[in-house]
C-alpha cells in the first residue's frame, strides 16, 4: 500500500491519499493519470490491469486501487 501511495504521489502530488475517496469522480485523476498509474503498477507489482477494470469505482481511492490489485494478483 505504501508503495502504491508513493506512485500516486508521483503522479499527482499534494493529495492525502489515505483519506481522498473521490480520486476519479472528483477529477483529481484524469484518464492520462490513470493509464500512467496502470503502467507504474505493472512495473512495480507485475500486475496487468485490463481495460474493463478502469472504472471510477475501482480507482476512486488508494484503498480501492489496492483492493483491485489484490483481486487481480489472486486471479
Amino acid at each position: 500500500m505504501e508503495q502504491l501511495i508513493a506512485i500516486l504521489n508521483e503522479i499527482v502530488p499534494d493529495l492525502d491519499y489515505t483519506r481522498c475517496d473521490t480520486l476519479v469522480s472528483g477529477r483529481y485523476l484524469d484518464s492520462f493519470d490513470i493509464v500512467t498509474l496502470v503502467a507504474d503498477i505493472y512495473e512495480a507489482f507485475g500486475v496487468r490491469v485490463p481495460a474493463q477494470y478502469l472504472t471510477p469505482e475501482n480507482f476512486d481511492s488508494a484503498a480501492r486501487i489496492w483492493a483491485l490489485l489484490c483481486r487481480l494478483q489472486a486471479k
Binding site: D30, F32, V35, T36, V38, A39, Y42, A51, L54
Partner: protein, 455 residues
C-alpha cells in the same frame, strides 16, 4: 426534395408531423406496446433514407446481437475472442468501406456503428445477463432509436436500457421540459445557425476578415450541433426517455483537453473508453512502457507510450470524422496540443506557485477562456478545409438583422430552462413563434443540413 428524404431532416415540417404523430400514438393507442411502437417508427424513419441503407444497419444489429448472445454461452474463451474480433472487423470494415470508398453513405452510420461497438465490447468484457440483450427487437431499438440516429448523442446500452423499454405514463413535467428543450433546439438551428453559416462563408474573403469568419463559424457550429442535440434530447424526453447530455458550455473551457470534456461529450467518452484506455493498458503498450522507461530513464520515458496512444486515438477520431487528410491533420493537431499542455504542466505548476492568487482571478480566467477559444478556432480552420468549407459571396446583413442575431446569441448564452411547468410552456411557445417569424421553413424548403449529420 422528395417526400421520403424530407421526413429525415429534423427541421422539415414532415418530420415534425411524424414526431407529433409518434408522441400521440405512443401515449394512446400503443401505450402498452411503447418500445415495440418506437421500433416500428424508427424502422420507418430509417427506411425513408433508402431501403438499401437498411441492409447495413440490419447487418450491424444482427451480427452484434448474435455475437453478444454467443459471449453469454459456456463456449471457450478462444472461440469468443475469435467471434469478437471478427464482429469488430465487420463493423469497422463496413464503416470504412461506406465512408471512404463507396459512393453510398447510409445516414447515421458513424453514430450507430460506434454505439453498436460499445455494446459489443461491453458484452464481451462482461458477458452477464445485465449486459446482454436477449430480445433482438430491443437491441434494434437501442441501435436505431430515431431521435439520436443522425447525430447522436451516443448512448451506452447499460444506461439507455433503463428508460428505453419501460412503460412510460404521460408526465406533464417531462413533456413540457422536453417540448421547451426541443423548441430551443429549433430556435438555435433555424434562427441562428442557418443565418450565421452563410455569413461565416461570406466573411472568408481576405485575411483581415478571417477572424470574423471564425467567430461567426464558432457560433453557427455551436447553435447547429447543440440545436440538433436539443431536439433529439427534447423529443426523447417527451417520450419519457433520458438520453445522455452531449455539451457542457464548451466555449467556457480553459484548455483544449477541457474543451473536449465539454464538447460532443459522448463521442469523447467513447474514444477515451474504447480506444485510448484499452490501447494504453494493452500488453504491447505496457511492454513499450517498460522499454521506454529503461531507455530514456526520465519523465518522457514514462509518458512516451501514453503519448503515442493519445496521438493514435486522435488520428482515429479524425478518421471517424472524415476520410481525407485534413481530418487526420485536425485530429493530430488536437492530440499534439493536448500533449504539449501535458508537457508544460510542471511549468504551469511553478507559475501558479509563484502567483498563487492568479487561479482565482476572474480576468486571468477570462484570458484562459479566450486563449482556448482562439486555439480551438485555429484547429477548426483545418476541419473547415476537411468539410470543404468554401467562401461564398452573400449579401451583407442589414443592421436590424445584426441586432436580431446578437440578441438571439445573448439569449442562447444566458437562457436557463425554466423550472415551473407554465414557464416551460411559455418558453416553448416563444421559441416556436420566433422560429415561425424569423426562421426559414415550409414545404420544399431545404433547410441547411445539420453539420454533424454528414459525419
Amino acid at each position: 426534395m422528395p417526400f421520403a428524404s424530407e421526413i429525415i431532416s429534423f427541421t422539415s415540417p414532415l418530420f415534425l408531423s411524424f414526431a407529433v404523430l409518434v408522441i400521440l400514438l405512443y401515449y394512446t393507442v400503443f401505450r402498452k406496446l411503447q418500445w415495440q411502437f418506437l421500433l416500428v417508427a424508427s424502422a420507418l424513419y430509417y427506411a425513408c433514407t433508402g431501403w438499401q441503407n437498411c441492409v447495413y444497419i440490419v447487418i450491424t444489429i444482427g451480427s452484434v446481437y448474435a455475437a453478444a448472445r454467443f459471449f453469454g454461452t459456456d463456449r471457450g474463451r478462444k472461440g469468443k475472442r475469435i467471434v469478437f474480433w471478427l464482429c469488430l472487423a465487420l463493423q469497422i470494415g463496413m464503416l470504412a468501406y461506406l465512408k471512404y470508398i463507396s459512393d453510398r453513405f447510409p445516414l447515421g452510420i458513424s453514430f450507430y456503428t460506434l454505439q453498436s461497438l460499445s455494446y459489443l465490447i461491453d458484452s464481451y468484457r462482461e458477458p452477464t445477463a445485465e449486459r446482454i440483450e436477449t430480445n433482438p427487437g430491443k437491441l434494434a431499438l437501442f441501435v436505431a432509436f430515431f431521435p439520436q440516429l443522425t447525430q447522436g448523442p451516443m448512448a451506452r446500452y447499460s444506461e439507455l436500457k433503463k428508460t428505453l423499454y419501460g412503460g412510460h405514463a404521460f408526465s406533464a413535467d417531462a413533456f413540457t421540459g422536453g417540448l421547451a428543450r426541443a423548441a430551443f433546439g429549433f430556435f438555435k438551428k433555424m434562427v441562428i445557425a442557418d443565418a450565421l453559416m452563410p455569413l461565416a462563408r461570406a466573411y472568408c474573403h481576405g485575411p483581415a476578415q478571417i477572424a470574423v469568419a471564425l467567430l461567426l463559424y464558432a457560433a453557427a457550429l455551436y447553435c447547429d450541433f447543440t440545436g440538433g442535440i436539443d431536439i433529439a434530447l427534447g423529443l426523447a424526453q417527451m417520450l419519457g426517455i433520458a438520453l445522455p447530455e452531449n455539451f457542457n458550455r464548451p466555449y467556457l473551457a480553459k484548455s483544449v483537453a477541457e474543451f473536449w470534456r465539454r464538447w460532443h461529450m459522448t463521442m469523447g467518452a467513447w474514444f477515451r473508453d474504447y480506444v485510448f484506455m484499452p490501447l494504453s493498458v494493452s500488453a504491447p503498450f505496457l511492454k513499450l512502457s517498460s522499454w521506454s522507461r529503461k531507455t530514456f530513464k526520465n519523465k518522457l520515458g514514462k509518458r512516451l507510450p501514453v503519448y503515442i496512444a493519445t496521438l493514435l486515438t486522435w488520428l482515429l477520431t479524425g478518421a471517424w470524422h472524415g476520410g481525407n487528410a485534413w481530418f487526420l491533420l485536425w485530429g493530430l493537431a488536437n492530440g499534439l496540443i493536448i500533449l504539449l499542455s501535458q508537457e508544460l504542466e510542471p511549468l504551469y505548476r511553478k507559475f501558479h506557485t509563484r502567483f498563487p492568487r492568479l487561479r482565482e482571478n476572474k480576468l486571468y480566467g477570462a484570458f484562459q477562456v479566450v486563449r482556448c477559444f482562439v486555439i480551438m478556432s485555429l484547429i477548426r480552420g483545418i476541419n473547415l478545409a476537411g468539410v470543404g468549407f468554401t467562401p461564398e459571396l452573400t449579401p451583407a446583413l442589414a443592421w436590424p438583422q445584426w441586432i436580431l442575431i446578437t440578441l438571439a446569441l445573448l439569449l442562447v448564452i444566458f437562457y436557463r430552462p425554466p423550472k415551473r411547468r407554465l414557464w416551460r410552456v411559455c418558453a416553448a411557445g416563444a421559441f416556436i413563434v420566433a422560429v415561425l417569424v424569423f426562421g426559414v421553413y415550409g414545404f420544399g424548403y431545404d433547410s441547411a443540413a445539420f453539420m454533424y449529420s454528414r459525419f
